[in-house]
Symmetry: C2
Subunit: 355 residues, 2 copies
DNA sequence: TTGTACGCGTTATCAG
DNA sequence: CTGATAACGCGTACAA
């Protein structure tokens, strides 16, 4: 109601035909220019490259901007300059806590450099991912971060043609689209299984998330299998389970394993919060952990440390993956680098009382 | 300028494309038009309003689009039409699991209507929120969702002037910017405390997150106080704690309460995963729950149900908050509604073994 | 240091 | 149903 609009900027009455537009009179750079008594170009410079404008004019412009409440139109700016300050991120599931840390890392770094983030959710579907990336390219994002590393051929072609920098996050891909910041899921799973072997366990079950459309799960299974082979232990398919995400899956998995193969002495839950569900179920049923059965997890969720017993796990540098991804993306966008960087951030085995 | 394109073969086979701009050869609508033998305007129509184009031409255009891999430029489109298909969301913390459900809800609905989401993180700072909203407005977002309901005056002015639809999520605000989809934090906290009173508890402690810049915490405390007053119970400031987020805070809080005031017989943790930390600490120390002390929580995280004992809590319709927010935002954007909607999605007390 | 002319790629408008 | 043309608001490339 208190819109103090100076009469001078009522409209661009320069005689040209103006389109009837639904929205209010959006304030343009030209309006700021008029009020400051300079050209629009000078306003642009005062805003984007302040040092290329005399201090006096800079102040006049800033004043005018504040007075009429001008908010630059980045759509027009990006269109004109072919430069965008938005990056796109596709994760398999927004809701899943595990990705939140990475998103936060990306967001922090991007934001620190004046960039913004568009986030979308592929629901683990490569087709959906392709659609989302197309949409992001339509928005002319400056760069992309993808968590999945399995893509449709069309997606790969799209990326190649578009030339946008891309970082993949989910695993150290063999055939990356472009850049990669991650850790080796194979090595991490292998390391954990070998760790269990060293602790003396001999019948080590594996529980993963569904393998379809999830290269992480596949790789973790490969790592587990490799470790068993190295240790000279048999790989029993009956104790290799695939379960949907969620706590109840963990409960169910461990019960099934105890029934099916009483000889099982350790279970490696290679994903989600399955291990938590399993431990809680054991507590309910009075199954001793690690006395009767040992439990190991993947991904050091905060909770694992606080349970009784604490759960042994693989710590992944999720936040750092996000940060580094954003950093190398920005490097490439700024032309500071041309390389197809491949960063292995490693992992760490955290031994706790559950094994 | 290291353009890998040999100057000799810059031109295509069919047209005379004399554009030799370095960087990338962005394919434009005009290129599709040439290949399909129609005008650019017809391509635009074939893509956006297919029924307003003859089937034959529609097919020709679709073919051309596929053949040359055209990806529309939404920047140009939005600039021209003053219509954007991007919405902006500001949450206090991306990392916090509690917001993920809401984000997922928003994302799902928006995506189903061809919209995309830009997400940013205010770190609970109203100033930061103001900066982010300004940036979103610069991107000409079609609508905004804000979780916080405490804003700077400048933010309020900005929103009012810009005319973008806004939905606030965090609580049923008294003086909303525009639309609200939420639940009453006051009522929810009051209901839980009264529930505890009904169960026979008389010294009911309250643990909240820091009150600064967090209207939700403030309101929950008000609700708790109101309930105590109604029940004729004294409000003892010594058992009203403010703790930072995180499991360890819960551990610390409950230990302090048991020491400070042994008479405490119940603790209401009104935020984050504090209650989980508290319960785990009790288990470690052999404190009987609810025998020695009862524990109640706020927000029905999946885990609460699976702990032993299960933790009594207030269930909030977080996902639905996201969905409804997106829906009414889209309604307003599409001009289907002009009202300043206010939706109270309510809450539910979930009684479990911990109380 | 500041200004002018033009184009970025698309859509609204209106003519045919 | 289709096309020509003029904006949309800003930045690049020069000119002054």
């Amino acid at each position: 109601m208190d819109d103090g609009r100076p009469p001078g900027q009522a409209a661009g009455e320069d005689g040209r035909k103006r389109r009837a537009r639904p929205g209010e009179g959006a304030i343009r750079m030209r309006d700021v220019a008029e009020r400051a008594g300079v050209s629009a170009m000078t306003v642009s410079r005062a805003l984007n490259t302040p040092d290329r404008v005399s201090p006096a004019i800079r102040r006049r412009v800033e004043e005018a901007v504040g007075a009429i409440g001008y908010v630059p139109n980045r759509l027009a700016g990006s269109l004109s300059s072919s430069r965008s300050n938005v990056a796109g991120l596709v994760v398999p599931s927004i809701r899943n806590t595990l990705f939140s840390d990475t998103i936060q890392g990306i967001s922090d770094v991007l934001h620190g450099h004046g960039y913004h983030l568009m986030v979308a959710d592929s629901a683990y579907s490569p087709q959906e991912e392709e659609a989302l990336v197309t949409a992001f390219l339509a928005q002319r994002v400056a760069g992309l971060v993808l968590h999945n590393t399995t893509h449709t051929p069309a997606l790969r072609a799209l990326i190649r043609r578009s030339g946008v920098p891309v970082v993949e996050n989910g695993t150290l891909a063999d055939d990356p689209l472009d850049m990669v910041v991650s850790y080796s899921n194979v090595d991490a799973a292998r390391a954990m299984t070998l760790h269990l072997v060293r602790l003396g366990y001999r019948r080590i079950a594996l529980v993963t998330l569904p393998l379809a459309n999830n290269e992480r799960s596949l790789e973790r299974r490969r790592g587990h299998a490799a470790a068993l082979a190295e240790a000279g232990l048999p790989a029993d398919p009956r104790i290799m389970l695939e379960m949907p995400p969620g706590l109840p899956s963990g409960c169910e998995a461990i019960m099934r394993l105890l029934e099916i193969t009483p000889a099982v002495d350790a279970v490696f839950f290679a994903g989600d919060v399955l291990a938590v569900g399993a431990l809680l179920e054991c507590q309910r049923r009075g199954v001793a952990v690690p006395g009767r059965i040992a439990i190991a997890s993947f991904d050091d969720v905060d909770l694992l440390r606080h349970l009784n017993p604490g759960i042994t796990t693989v710590r992944l540098p999720r936040r750092e993956v996000g940060r580094r991804s954003a950093e190398i993306l920005l490097d490439r966008i700024a032309g500071r680098s041309q390389e197809r960087v491949r960063v292995d951030l490693g992992f760490e085995i955290i031994q706790r009382a559950s094994t």
